[in-house]
């Protein structure tokens, strides 16, 4: 009996113990479920950091992020972007009737060949592409066919809203979004990895102005092509760059090789008299000549089998400014002889004319110059023959001449800083003198057609015969003009070039730089200056006259009938 009571009390005690301990166990369980709930909440709501951390290797369980960043101009205008599209593929093992499927697909996608599609669908493989990048409507139509085995892969397609306007600069990609040319190629990795748009230095408005002006002159003078560059002299930023004929990067595959050729960076040309800018600058910098120096230009120079003559001979002694103003080859060659081969080569090297440019484009031509720099080479190089550089080389070097003498690397990517570090090539004084000479050419010399009233354009014409198969062709010209404005405090270098322009009645049969390219610069300057807040000036104001005055007695007076 007492045993039984003892059992009963043990039993009661055991139940009490179990009850208390069950409370502990139950609480632990409840806590564990609570933790699971909190973690769920955390993952579903606060998942931002997880996203970023894993973003790199992400393809499943999340909509794919855009693979390539946008490219925009200096004002944020879209130049290249990516559109999400669907690409159609098939699992031929699941296609019951290849012929019928092909037939129905052709009705939606008429650009496909029915035979090719039917063959692919009947191939028995497990995966065949049918067409990349369908429009949403096409995708809808294909879906509506309801054919099993046709499936879509989400893809991106690169789109260039401005088409051919910036085709040579922006470039294009292949169907797998790998850059094949232009910025798309040279900065492929950066664009593919970037989260924010890549901002270029170009201004699409200036690009349009430059292209329109060039196209007009090319048509007028029946040229086979042309090109132009607008460069910021302080930052080295390319504000516009056009090469014609051009191509539409949205359909780069159909573009011919000649249209994809960028004359401004990949083409190298003997640019002729525009090189006299460097010859004069070197002479003034090294001190071999001053504005007062005079040279005998009465008769052509004969060296070995070569004859150096002037386009329109003055047959007299000329001062240094007059040699520039009338673009005298004889005078320039004599100045070059005074400079000497070594100094000429050294300074052209400092100006970046003997090496690759720093521009962010894969399409770049290397300068061509004599391996052995003889006296005859020195003389011809002084007026731009016997040396071939790309127009970008020239533009960049001219900017260095006029901006106070500092060569800054040319770039297509926008800078945050106003100016960039550069290399001092000429003194500020030489630069100032060169600006006066450049203005002289536009005011009273060969470049009067470039004079955009009020914007104080300075510049130099260049007309060179093209070398074809080793000999110069008399009627195949590279006519160019390089302008700088406003000459009192330069902001931009504007270069324009026409490839094989033909003389017309209006130009009295001439196809020289002054007739063909200078009007392009005039048009571009007049139209772009307001966009950059550059107001027209009174050119007759005393302080401006003072800034561009040449203090030298003319040898023959400011005659202005020279054409080259």
């Amino acid at each position: 009996m007492s045993d039984r009571i003892a059992f009963e009390s043990t039993k009661k005690q055991a139940i009490e113990t179990a009850r208390t301990r069950l409370l502990v166990g139950g609480s632990l369980m409840a806590a564990a479920f609570f933790v699971v709930g909190v973690r769920l909440f955390d993952l579903a709501v606060f998942n931002e950091n997880e996203d970023l951390r894993r973003a790199a290797s992400r393809e499943i369980a999340r909509p794919t992020p855009m693979a390539r960043a946008d490219i925009v101009d200096r004002n944020g205008v879209l130049l290249a972007t990516s559109l999400k599209t669907a690409s159609l593929f098939a699992d031929p093992r699941k296609i019951a009737d290849p012929a019928d499927t092909a037939h129905r697909l052709i009705e939606i996608l008429p650009d496909l060949s029915e035979e090719v599609v039917a063959a692919r669908l009947g191939s028995g493989k497990s995966f065949v592409w049918l067409r990349r990048n369908l429009t949403p409507r096409q995708q809808f139509e294909v879906n509506r066919l309801g054919i099993p085995g046709l499936e879509f892969e989400k893809e991106e397609r690169r789109v260039y809203p401005h088409g051919r306007l910036a085709g040579h600069i922006v470039g294009f990609t292949n169907v797998d979004n790998v850059g094949l040319s232009g910025i798309e190629k040279s900065m492929d990795a950066a664009i593919a990895g970037a989260k924010t748009p890549l901002r270029l230095s170009i201004d699409i408005r200036v690009q349009q102005i430059l292209r329109q002006e060039l196209a007009g002159q090319i048509e007028k003078f029946k040229a086979i092509g042309g090109g132009g560059i607008v460069l910021d002299v302080e930052s080295g930023e390319v504000v516009a760059m056009v090469s014609l004929p051009d191509f539409d990067p949205n359909a780069a595959g159909q573009a011919g090789a000649d249209t994809r050729f960028n004359r401004m960076t990949l083409g190298v040309y003997e640019l002729g008299s525009v090189f006299k800018i460097f010859n004069h600058a070197i002479a003034l910098e090294t001190g071999v000549a001053t504005f007062a120096s005079r040279y005998d230009a009465t008769k052509p120079i004969r060296v070995a089998r070569f004859t150096i003559s002037d386009y329109h001979p003055k047959k007299s002694w000329l001062t240094v400014p007059e040699i520039f103003q009338h673009s005298s080859n004889i005078g320039s060659a004599k100045i070059a002889l005074d400079i000497g081969s070594d100094d000429q080569r050294k300074y052209l090297g400092h100006l970046g004319l003997l090496r690759r440019t720093s521009i962010e484009l894969p399409e770049q031509g290397l300068p061509m110059y004599p391996a052995r720099w003889r006296e005859i080479n020195t003389m011809t190089i002084s007026f731009g023959h016997g040396i071939a550089v790309s127009p970008l080389h020239l533009t960049s070097a001219v900017a260095a001449v006029v901006n106070g003498g500092i060569l800054r690397p040319a770039t297509l990517v926008e800078h945050d800083a106003k100016t960039t570090d550069g290399v001092q090539v000429f003194s500020a004084q030489t630069s100032d003198r060169m600006r006066r000479l450049l203005r002289l050419v536009v005011e009273t010399g060969t470049g009067r057609n470039a004079d955009a009233k009020g914007y104080l354009v300075g510049g130099k014409t260049g007309t060179a015969e093209k070398q074809v198969n080793g000999s110069y062709k008399r009627n195949a010209l590279i006519s160019s003009f390089v302008g700088v404005y406003p000459i009192t405090a330069p902001r931009f270098v504007v270069f324009a070039m026409l490839d094989e322009p033909k003389g017309i009645k209006e130009s009295y049969g001439y196809a020289t730089g002054g007739w063909t390219a200078a009007p392009v610069v005039q048009g571009v300057v007049a139209r772009m200056a307001p966009l950059f807040g550059i107001a027209p000036l009174d050119e007759t104001a005393p302080d401006i006259r003072h800034a561009i005055n040449i203090n030298a007695q003319p040898a023959i007076g400011n005659r202005s009938d020279a054409v080259n």
Binding site: F7, T10, K11, A14, I15, T17, A18, R19, R21, L22, L23, G25, G26, M29, A30, A32, F33, V35, V36, G37, R39, L40, F41, L43, A44, V45, N47, E50, D51, R54, R58, I60, A61, R62
Partner: protein
């Protein structure tokens, strides 16, 4: 109302005594399980070369069996439950031994026994049966100190654990150990022994870390994700993030395309991705509800056997759910464990059905049981 209180038929009595709230929660879990099996398994079936609807068909074939099993077992009396459990437990020991001898080896482990075209995982059945047997032995020991219930129970536990670890199936061994220790704890295990068992359990895990290389590698990867391939768990975490609050919609998920066990071990990730946070939280709540409600009913029990058996069965049910969800959410190292009623898996479904059937049977209101709340 199908039955009046005055109805004294077996069915009528069952309806008025069974815990209808738990029954409803179980039905809801089964419904989610059916939905997720349909959503997740075709991708898995296709990947391993089976008919797309292979798993769906099997799941829907077994579901009525499981429902019938729950209902039938829940109509039993506690004594019938105990007798069935003891007999079934002995059967399971035989099956476990047979598994080791004749089992199918998959990925280096022998866990499956093929009987008449069905593959059977005896471990899923031994878990609930052993919980009831252990409850009986512990309660007898408490009633009569002269009965060596604890000793017998410990011996049985050692036998079961040895058979499970030999497969090897460490996850199930952890669950069985956890249940057994919880029951021992409730049955009045002295506190110094509780402490000792905790130390033993921890050293057991540490020991397996150093002796079993696949365990070591999983734990390494949990502690330092860079030390190895964490592909599955990363995809799982992504799935929850991608699902957000409302999910991508049933069938719209991506994670099932890449996770080999999307229909079983990672089914909760599919739920999170396709159904979203709110439904996932609702599923967690259903599990918690069944466990906590059952435990609260057990607390008002006057019968120690019932209290221990119900607690053991619910701890097993809850632990399995927590381990599965915890793995998917990277709260604990990845451990292959089915989510009761939600994961695909025949043996798991039937085993859990038996366990909850017994729970419902034991928590039914009985005259004089004190469970009158």
């Amino acid at each position: 109302m199908p039955f009046t209180r005055a109805d004294t038929s077996i069915l009528g009595q069952w309806w008025w005594t069974v815990d209808r709230w738990s029954l409803a929660a179980i039905a809801a879990l089964m419904a989610f399980g059916a939905l997720l099996a349909a959503a997740s398994s075709p991708a898995v079936a296709e990947r391993i070369g089976l008919d797309e609807f292979y798993f769906i068909k099997r799941h829907f074939m077994l579901l009525p069996v499981a429902i019938a099993m729950i209902l039938a077992v829940s109509a039993m009396t506690p004594t019938q439950v105990r007798r069935m459990a003891v007999i079934a437990f002995l059967g399971c020991i035989v099956l476990l031994t047979a598994t080791l001898l004749f089992g199918i080896e998959i990925k280096g482990a022998r866990r499956w026994l093929s009987i008449a075209g069905f593959s059977l995982q005896a471990t899923e059945f031994v878990k609930p049966m052993f919980a009831v047997v252990a409850a009986w032995l512990f309660s007898e020991a408490a009633h009569d100190p002269r009965f060596p219930g604890r000793l017998i129970c410990t011996a049985l536990f050692a036998t079961v654990i040895a058979l499970v670890i030999a497969q090897p199936d460490l996850g199930q061994a952890v669950v069985i150990t956890g249940v057994w220790m919880a029951q021992f704890f409730l049955a009045g295990l002295p506190m110094w022994l509780v402490a000792g068992l905790v130390v033993l359990g921890v050293s057991g895990l540490v020991g397996s870390y150093f002796t079993l290389s696949h365990v070591a590698s999983r734990i390494d990867r949990f502690i330092d994700p860079k030390s190895g391939d964490t592909y599955q768990i990363e995809r799982s975490i992504e799935a929850f993030s991608s699902g957000g609050l409302f999910g991508r919609g049933p069938g719209e998920g991506q994670v099932k395309q890449v996770l080999p066990d999307a229909h079983a071990d990672f089914v909760f990730a599919v739920a999170g991705e396709e159904l979203g946070l709110f439904v996932a939280l609702f599923i967690v709540t259903l599990f918690a509800f069944i466990v906590l409600r059952g435990m609260s009913r057990a607390m008002s029990e006057q019968n120690l056997f019932i209290m221990l058996a119900v607690s053991g069965l619910l701890v097993q049910f809850g632990m399995q759910a927590l381990i599965n969800m915890g793995s998917s959410l990277q709260l604990i190292p990845t451990k292959g464990m089915t989510l009761p009623f939600i994961s695909y898996g025949g043996s798991s479904l039937l085993g859990v059905a038996l366990g909850l059937g017994m729970t419902l049977a034991l928590t039914r209101r009985r005259l004089g049981s004190g469970a009158s709340t």
